[in-house]
């Protein structure tokens, strides 16, 4: 920064000296017919010019490092912060708004810092120095030029105020547009399946039109103010010529001084004119900074508490207890969980059963602290999960989500997500459990890239990989959120058989929709209206709790006539 300012200052200095040299040329050698002096002055101008160019080079070269490093650092930090923010934040924020902050806003911040700030400082300094020189040349006219800063200042204040508002609107609208684009990209299959591209296009147009309208509004504002920055120095130049000529005649100035005066003032036109766009880009950068700070100012709420304990795997038994656990999503006053009490013994497998939308997924997400409870507590071996370090908690609690999330990377990397030091044997074992041996038949085996940018896998295949991933990390507590829903019966049976072995030494929480999967569990808990209404073995509950039967029993009132020849009933 110092190098930049110094080099910028020297460059400006050199550019100011050139007109003074000119004045000397006119008043000195030219008047006195001194040819040698002329050559010396020429060489001096040449040297100054070269110095100026070198200083510009120096400034730009250092500037490119400084501003780009700043940009990259802020982006790294922002990404780190976003990763740290809890799911509640990501649920609430539109992804396009995050993206436009990370890319566009940081970009405009960098643009201003690399060009704008320097020019702003340099131009204002140049203005000040030139004004001082002008006052020394001829005080009355110099004072006039100094006074022209007053209207410039007033205009700038007005401009800044109005521009700030519009530019925030433009940037927000661009974020909305980015969100829409992102959704269109992710939902492309649905759009295609319904042939709704015209519909999507119409809505996109509406979004793009909003950006257009606001941007035109911004351009209009700019067109009203920017030319003023050119007008004012030109007006003062007009006055200088007339008054200056009079002054020369009256002998207050030499002709050379007038030429120098006009040249210096002329040299001010561009710096003043550029103030217009510097201010505009400054406003944009301010808005960008505001928008970036919206994210930075959001405190990560799911963090290590001071003095958090490390859960050590070898000392962990894996007793999970829910005590009066309550949860509601932020901004919603209907609680999803209204006081859950549940005790899971070490090594026990507990299934959670309930109708769609009863909060099963929410309940199991609380264990690895994907969300934090809003009331009550969850403990593992008596430690409140909020008093454990996140890292050790999540190392010991592994989750397989119902919707398997695979990243665009090798199968190996996807599987070893929770345990980077897993060996190929570990992976092989987990793949066996999840009946995911198909990966060995992929073109490059474990090194095949899957996910969006790689090979596309079927829903069942993805689900099995997600399950294998959870198994690989050898957790003390395993959370499986309906992990077999996309598997066919055959595979499901095989997976269950293999899973049985894994679950033997592991505390497990299963979210279950089907009776076949319930068979894995030692006990079942029924979740209704945000509370656990019954806990027991599958057959106990089936026999004694009617609502359990309604949720899980394949035997339904209209079942017999659905099944051909009543086979479903016969099998019971």
């Amino acid at each position: 920064m110092i190098v930049m300012l110094v080099s910028a200052g020297l460059a400006v200095g050199a550019s100011i000296v050139v007109p003074l040299v000119m004045q000397r040329v006119v008043d000195g050698p030219v008047r006195h017919h001194d040819q040698n002096g002329l050559i010396w002055f020429g060489l001096a101008a040449l040297a100054l010019g070269a110095l100026e160019a070198f200083m510009v080079f120096l400034r730009r070269w250092t500037q490119s490092y400084a501003s780009l490093s700043m940009e990259a650092d802020v982006r790294d930090d922002l990404y780190a912060h976003m990763q740290k923010l809890p799911l509640t934040f990501h649920d609430r924020w539109q992804s396009g708004q995050l993206l436009s902050r990370a890319i566009t806003d940081i970009g405009s911040l960098r643009r201003f810092l690399s060009f704008g700030v320097i020019y702003l400082i340099v131009n204002i300094c140049q203005y000040a120095v030139v004004v001082v020189l002008l006052i020394r040349l001829y005080p009355p006219l110099g004072a006039l030029v100094a006074l022209s800063a007053v209207p410039l200042f007033l205009i700038s204040r007005q401009f800044a105020k109005r521009f700030l508002r519009v530019s925030r609107q433009v940037q927000d609208a661009q974020g909305d547009l980015a969100t829409y684009v992102e959704e269109s990209a992710h939902g492309i299959r649905v759009v295609k399946a319904f042939g709704r591209r015209h519909h999507m296009f119409t809505r996109f147009t509406a979004n793009a039109d909003k950006v257009y309208q606001l941007a035109v509004q911004r351009a209009r504002l700019d067109s009203r103010f920017a030319p003023l920055y050119e007008l004012i120095p030109n007006l003062s130049l007009a006055v200088i010529i007339v008054v200056g000529a009079v002054a020369v005649v009256q002998g207050h100035m030499t002709l050379g001084q007038l030429v120098a005066f006009a040249t210096l003032q002329m040299g001010l036109v561009w710096p003043v004119e550029s103030l217009g766009w510097i201010l505009a880009s400054g406003q944009e950068a301010m808005t960008a900074a505001d928008r970036i700070y919206d994210v930075f100012d959001t405190e990560p709420t799911v963090v290590d508490r001071p003095g958090a304990v490390d859960l050590r795997r070898d000392e962990l038994r894996g007793a999970v207890r829910f005590s009066d656990v309550r949860f509601s999503y932020p901004g919603s006053d209907t609680p999803v969980l209204a006081g859950i009490d549940l005790d899971i013994a070490p090594g026990e497998t507990m299934a959670l059963v309930g109708v769609t939308g009863s909060g099963k997924t929410t309940a199991v997400s609380l264990v690895p602290r994907l969300y934090d409870v809003t009331g009550g507590r969850i403990t593992i071996d008596g430690h409140d999960v909020r008093d454990c370090t996140l890292d050790s908690l999540r190392r010991n609690v592994a989750t397989a989500f119902e919707e398997p999330i695979l990243f665009s990377m090798s199968v190996r990397e996807n599987l070893a997500l929770g345990r980077p030091d897993a060996t190929d044997d570990d992976l092989a074992e987990a793949l066996r459990v999840a009946q995911a041996d198909f990966v060995y038949e992929l073109p490059w085996g474990l090194d095949t890239r899957v996910g969006e940018q790689g090979l596309s896998l079927s829903g069942g295949q993805r689900q099995r990989l997600a399950l294998a991933r959870a198994v690989v990390s050898r957790p003390k507590v395993l959370v499986l959120d309906d992990p077999l829903s996309a598997l066919d019966v055959n595979t499901e049976a095989l997976v269950e058989e293999a899973l049985e072995r894994v679950l033997a030494g592991t505390t497990a929480l299963l979210v279950v929709h089907r009776p076949s999967t319930v068979a894995l569990a030692d006990r079942v808990a029924l979740l209704e209206d945000g509370r656990i209404t019954a806990v027991g073995t599958h057959s106990e509950l089936l026999a004694t709790v009617p609502s359990y039967r309604a949720v899980l029993s394949a035997e339904a009132d209209d079942r017999p006539d659905l099944l051909p020849e009543g086979k479903g009933v016969a099998a019971r």
Partner: protein, 620 residues
């Protein structure tokens, strides 16, 4: 290959795994070989031409305004010269203010004119620039929507987002601050040259000697920076791709403590982007002072040579002063112009990328003269259909199949047997590599997209919901549906009860990606959306996998009514769904190995009978 550990230094490629021998994610739109680049370059110029054409009249007006503005600005130094050379002598000799005052008035007029024209120009150019941007956004978006799924699978959502956000940004940056200065520079070069010649031609010729150097420097910068900016466009899309994907899967990131590795990868791609930018910036760091140096040397030469001429009485002192003033006026803006030239280069690189996308042809193309199909009966026929995603691996070797109108057909089989492929062919996400698929006897390739989509709708296990309300998501099946229709669809599918219990019922926001609804609820909404679309052919691809038993039962019951009068292809591993079918196909490696009614197959001793037995056992 050793397994990756966290201690290992990051190898940017190793973690990604192998996608194909060459880089299969590269589509033609992303090609970087010399010939493609040259082609894209010319395409991007054509694109620019077609974007500008509709505005050519206003653009002409803008250029006129710019000319006037330029003349007004150029008048300044000339008037200074007149003031000094012609204004001072009469004042000194006869105390006559006439010339001086008229110079002052002329100066004021020129300034005022400059102000007005600049204002009008900025307004016009801002409007045109934004209109072009608007048009470009729409074109690219529309084209993306038109391109086939196979393209999207290779291109990835992250890149599409990068094209429509970051690339548009760099074009808009140029539109916002560059155009007038760019055009003015061109005008300046010409008009300054003319004025200089007019003022004092020997001095002007000396000045013009600098032009070849300027041109050479600009040409060098142009070719170098084009390459540098192309690289920034490519690297920024990698940043965006990683950003979008990792934050999209934030649940898994948190659950598996992926943050440090993600951060490493992000910093690596971000660093690449920074380096690409740095290269571009360093080029300006050479270009911009280079221009300055040429300018300063020229001024020094003019100063000496001009002084010499004045000394020898070959030039007037006022002329000399004006000359130097013009030179400054020429080189000063040019200096800062290098920055705008820079954004022009950046925008050009972005435009090339966009031209690349617009250049892509959809694999699944719309027919040029479509066969009209207003009301489809829903009879589907596969005639010697062959298909493979890759040339060396056929998923369907040869499929011959007729599905009469109104039949509900269940397709079962192991993973990879080709069930989903059949669904994708019927909904024309892909075209068969050989043979044909017909609807009511018409080849799908001869149907207009709107007709085809009205007739065939697919519900997948994906259940993507758009942000917006539940109502809007259901209405996606039929955008002009009334509230009553929407509610009827939801009731029919058994989704009404849970929707009615939501805080704002049908007006409830489903939040990003449907995050607030459970997987089962999303599936129900997706069902309602398909039901509302009321197609002749409905394809259900594992569409009930996330439903709990009561909901599935409701859906099951609804399906019996819904599917009664339409053709349906049901792909499911849960046989409960299969049982509503009139006919079951068992698929193995793309070949139909069993075909019959569920009852027939259950009584036999084939695979379906096995599957059915296992399923019944699983119910206990």
């Amino acid at each position: 290959m050793s397994s990756p550990t966290s201690e290992q230094p990051l190898d940017i490629e190793a973690w990604r795994g192998i996608a194909s021998e060459e880089n299969s994610e590269r589509t033609a739109a992303e090609a970087t070989d010399k010939r493609s680049v040259a082609r894209l370059r010319s395409r991007s110029m054509q694109l620019l031409g077609s974007l500008v054409r509709p505005h050519r009249r206003i653009l002409a007006l803008a250029v006129v305004l710019l000319l006037v503005q330029d003349v007004a600005a150029m008048a300044g130094p000339f008037l200074v010269q007149v003031g000094i050379d012609r204004g001072i002598p009469p004042l000194r000799d006869h105390h006559s203010y006439a010339v001086l005052l008229s110079v002052g008035v002329a100066f004021l007029t020129a300034s005022g004119l400059g102000y007005l024209t600049k204002r009008a120009f900025l307004m016009l150019s801002g409007r045109i620039g934004q209109a072009i941007l608007f048009d470009l956004r729409r074109r690219v978006y529309k084209h993306f929507q038109k391109l086939s799924l196979s393209f999207h699978e290779r291109y990835t959502s992250g890149r599409m987002i990068a094209r429509l956000t970051s690339d548009m940004d760099s074009i808009s940056e140029m539109v916002d601050n560059g155009i007038d200065d760019l055009v003015l520079a061109g005008l300046n070069v010409i008009s300054v040259a003319i004025i200089l010649l007019f003022l004092d031609w020997p001095l002007a010729l000396a000045t013009l000697c600098s032009f070849p150097f300027l041109l050479w420097l600009s040409a060098w910068f142009r070719s170098q920076s084009a390459r540098a900016y192309r690289r920034t466009r490519e690297t920024v899309s990698l940043v965006i791709v990683h950003f979008v994907e990792s934050l999209g899967g934030i649940r898994a990131v948190h659950a598996y403590r992926r943050e440090p590795r993600n951060q490493e990868i992000f910093e690596a791609v971000n660093h690449e982007y920074k380096r690409a930018n740095q290269r571009a910036f360093q080029l300006i760091a050479i270009f911009s002072p280079g221009i300055k140096l040429i300018g300063n040397v020229t001024i020094a030469v003019v100063l000496t040579y001009g002084g010499y001429r004045v000394l020898h009485g070959q030039a007037e002192i006022g002329v000399f002063a004006a000359f130097v003033l013009y030179l400054r006026k020429f080189f000063e803006p040019m200096q800062d112009l290098s920055m705008f030239y820079n954004s022009l280069q950046s925008a050009t690189a972005a435009l090339e990328k966009l031209a690349g996308v617009l250049d892509e042809k959809p694999d699944v193309a719309e027919p040029t003269s479509p066969h009209e199909l207003t009301a489809s009966r829903g009879e589907l026929r596969f005639e010697s259909v062959q298909f493979g995603y890759r040339a060396d691996r056929l998923v369907l070797p040869e499929l011959n199949l007729t599905l009469p109108a109104g039949q509900t057909v269940a397709v079962v089989g192991a993973t990879g047997a080709g069930k989903t492929t059949i669904a994708k062919l019927v909904s024309r996400f892909y075209d068969p590599t050989a043979g044909r698929v017909t609807l009511d006897g018409v080849d799908l390739r001869d149907l207009a997209e709107t007709d085809l989509r009205r007739a065939v709708v697919m519900v997948t296990q994906e259940n993507f919901l758009f942000s917006g309300t539940v109502r809007e998501n259901i209405a996606f099946g039929k955008p002009d549906a009334t509230d009553a229709e929407i509610e009827r669809a939801a009731r029919a599918i058994g989704a009404h009860d849970f929707i009615a219990a939501l805080p704002e019922r049908y007006g409830t926001d489903v939040a990003k990606g449907g995050g607030r609804l459970s997987a089962g609820q999303r599936q129900l909404v997706a069902f309602a959306r398909a039901f509302l679309a009321d197609p002749a052919v409905l394809i259900l691809d594992e569409a009930t996998s996330s439903l709990d038993i009561p909901s599935e039962r409701l859906v099951q019951r609804a399906l019996r009514t819904i599917l009664a009068d339409r053709t349906a292809i049901v792909i499911a591993h849960r046989l409960s769904t299969v049982e509503i079918a009139d006919r079951v196909l068992v698929l193995d490696a793309g070949i139909v190995v069993e075909d019959g009614t569920p009852a027939q197959l259950i009584d036999g001793d084939g695979r379906y009978a096995d599957l059915h037995r296992q399923w019944e056992d699983s119910l206990v």
